[in-house]
Structure formats: structure tokens, C-alpha cells
């Protein structure tokens, strides 16, 4: 089950610095822990978050085992033109989630 909460200002003026925050549901299992049966739980991490603004990469981050479950990530970008922000999370076990959010720039 993949779910995400994304906060992007709906509209901004050209040249504004806008804050973008993302929160995604993910167990971020380190691969070092044992389950109730004593067997090691397979690693399941989000490895990378990237954000493209109208096709151009504006932000990316790599995640590792020390990041808590349901990782929150906030960053800034400059509002240049109306369009879409495309968020991509990629991780172990073929995990991939893509969300798009529209932004209007005046």
C-alpha cells in the first residue's frame, strides 16, 4: 500500500521561493532486524526521491537505513512557470511511486 501526502502551494508568483513537503508511507525496513520468528526481515528501503518540475530535475535525495519509517522530506524550489511537479520514490523490491501535483505561476 503506497500513500503519500504532498504540500505544494497551489499558486505562486514568478520568482517566488516555494516550500514543498512530502510524506510517504513506507516501512523503511533496515534489513538488520529480526522478525517475531527470529528470521531476519529482508531490507526494504526507499533509496531515492526525486522531483521534476516540468521535466527538469529540481531536487533529489538518497535515503539509507537510518531514515525512519514514513519518511518526511521538505525542500525549496523557485516558481518559474505553471505546470506540474512530478515526485518519484524508488526503492528496494521494485518499489516505485509517482505522484504529480499542479502549480499555477502568475
Amino acid at each position: 500500500m503506497a500513500r503519500a501526502l504532498i504540500k505544494v502551494p497551489r499558486s505562486a508568483r514568478r520568482g517566488d521561493v516555494v516550500e514543498i513537503s512530502t510524506l510517504i508511507a513506507h516501512p523503511m525496513e533496515t534489513g538488520f532486524r529480526a522478525g517475531a520468528d527470529g528470521q531476519r526481515l529482508p531490507r526494504s528501503l526507499i533509496r531515492r526521491l526525486s522531483c521534476e518540475y516540468n521535466g527538469a530535475l529540481v531536487f533529489s535525495a538518497e535515503f539509507f537505513a537510518a531514515v525512519a519509517a514514513n519518511p518526511y522530506c521538505a525542500f525549496y524550489t523557485v516558481a518559474t512557470e505553471s505546470g506540474t511537479l512530478r515526485f518519484t520514490w524508488e526503492g528496494d523490491g521494485g518499489f516505485a511511486q509517482i505522484e504529480t501535483v499542479a502549480i499555477t505561476v502568475t
Binding site: 500500500m1 501526502l5 504540500k7 513537503s21 510524506l23 516501512p27 523503511m28 519509517a69 514514513n70
Partner: protein, 262 residues
């Protein structure tokens, strides 16, 4: 100071202090604090902002479950109850409620499962499962901001009394009762953590230690393990009785579901 001799101003000061003391000692002065008050500003900010609060992920899932048809009756919660924002408002604030058929109090999770069995003709969801927590937090979320208003049914009184006894009962190898930490030592520290007053204001909560959402029963079981007592099983009547008492103790405090706790 010339017009106010020192003795007179001192007397005034003492008078003011004793007045303040009198106000604090008055039973109407509410010294109760939600666990929220003991958290760091950053954790408080996490709870306040719905896009930072991970509990909102479960609320979103719960809304989807609310609309999903289930069971032999092929009915969704929404088919009977309609919009949760109207029909479920206040439900969590007065839970646990008295069930006429079982003739005992049931908490929100049990109520959802009873509804599944009786009306949707569906299998009850396993307690503390993701699916049940989704629905529970979605229903409780509809009461966010409302004061806790325990059900007034007289048949609940004996169960509430039993909960109160349990709260004061020494248990486990450490031989501790809830009241010894949460009344006598609230506000002090246990290791690095502040001991809260144990008001169930935000359940189900997103607990940072769990890295997940969990119910009040999970929290109570954690406390029982902490005092090295054998925890009551999920759904045990003792846990519901305890919740009944805790809710009456917290009556009037606003619900924060989904709360974030360290």
C-alpha cells in the same frame, strides 16, 4: 517605596501569593494536561501540520475503507452511515459505549468489528491490524477538537469502577500501579522521557517509537510490559474497563486524533 512601607508591600505580596495558592488548590482549577503539552516543539509541530503528521496517511486509507463494500451484505460503511463527517462526529468522544447485546462496554475497534459482523456480515478484522486501525482512526478523526464526553449510560458505572480499581492496582514484578507514575509522578522523568498524566486524548496515535499507528490497547500493553506484568490480551475486558475510566478522568479535554507522541 516611600508611600508603601516595606512591611505593607510584603504583606500584599504574601497576600497575592496565598491567593494564587488558593486558586491552584481549588478543585475547579484544571491541572490536567494532554500528553501534547509535554512534547518538544518539533513533535508538536509534527502533530499540528496535517501534511507532516504521519497519522494522516492512515486517515486517508480509512476513508477509502469507509467507502469499500465488504461482507455478504455487500455494503460499505458509507451505505448505512453516509458521510462520516456528520454521522461519526462525536462517536470517538463518547466511546467506549454500552452494547445492548453483549451487555458490556465496547471500544471503537470492537464496535467497528461488531458492525462488520452484524450488518456487513463480514469477518471481524484482526485487532490491531492495519485495516482495523485505518477505520478506527478515520472514525476517531471525525471527532477531532471535540471535548471527551464519556457515555452517561448507568450500566457503564460498574465497569468504570473496575477500571478505576485496575488503575490503582499494583501489578507486575515491579509492583507498580498506573496511579503511582501517572498521578503521583506525572511531569517527572522516567529515564529521558517525561511521564505524562495518561489522558487518552489522541488515540489511535502515531508513535515515533513504534514508527507506526497504534491503539490505546497497544499503549496500555506497552505500559504493562514496562512494569513487568503479563499484559492483557488485545480486546480483553480489563483493557476496555481501563479505557472507560481513563476517558472519564480525561472528560472535557479535546480529542487530537491522530495525535503524534514520542
Amino acid at each position: 517605596m516611600s508611600r508603601w512601607p516595606r512591611a505593607a508591600s510584603l504583606a500584599l505580596l504574601v497576600g497575592a501569593l496565598s491567593l494564587r495558592h488558593a486558586v491552584a488548590a481549588e478543585p475547579s482549577a484544571d491541572a490536567r494536561r494532554s500528553g501534547f503539552a509535554y512534547m518538544t516543539p518539533s513533535t508538536q509541530a509534527m502533530q499540528r501540520d496535517d501534511t507532516q503528521n504521519p497519522g494522516m496517511l492512515w486517515v486517508g486509507d480509512g476513508e477509502a475503507s469507509w467507502r469499500r463494500k465488504a461482507g455478504k451484505a455487500d455494503q460499505a460503511c458509507a451505505d448505512c452511515h453516509g458521510a462520516a463527517s456528520a454521522s461519526m462526529r462525536g462517536v470517538a468522544a463518547r466511546s467506549p459505549d454500552f452494547d445492548l447485546r453483549l451487555e458490556r462496554p465496547v471500544d471503537l475497534a470492537a464496535r467497528i468489528n461488531l458492525c462488520r459482523e452484524r450488518h456487513q456480515q463480514a469477518e471481524p478484522l484482526p485487532l490491531e491490524s492495519q485495516e482495523l486501525l485505518n477505520l478506527e482512526v478515520f472514525v476517531a478523526f471525525q471527532s477531532r477538537g471535540m471535548p471527551i464526553a464519556p457515555a452517561t449510560d448507568e450500566r457503564l458505572a460498574s465497569f468504570r469502577e473496575r477500571g478505576k480499581q485496575l488503575y490503582r492496582q499494583r501489578m507486575g514484578q515491579l509492583d507498580l500501579a498506573c496511579t503511582q507514575c501517572h498521578d503521583d509522578s506525572a511531569g517527572k522523568r522516567l529515564g529521558s522521557s517525561v511521564i505524562p498524566q495518561a489522558h487518552p486524548t489522541g488515540y489511535p496515535i502515531y508513535r515515533l517509537e513504534w514508527q507506526s499507528l497504534g491503539s490505546l490497547q497497544r499503549r496500555l500493553r506497552g505500559c504493562l510490559t514496562g512494569i513487568r506484568a503479563e499484559p492483557f490480551a488485545y480486546g480483553a475486558p480489563e483493557l476496555v474497563d481501563l479505557e472507560l475510566y481513563l476517558k472519564s478522568r480525561a472528560a472535557g479535554l479535546p480529542l487530537e486524533t491522530p495525535a503524534v507522541r514520542p
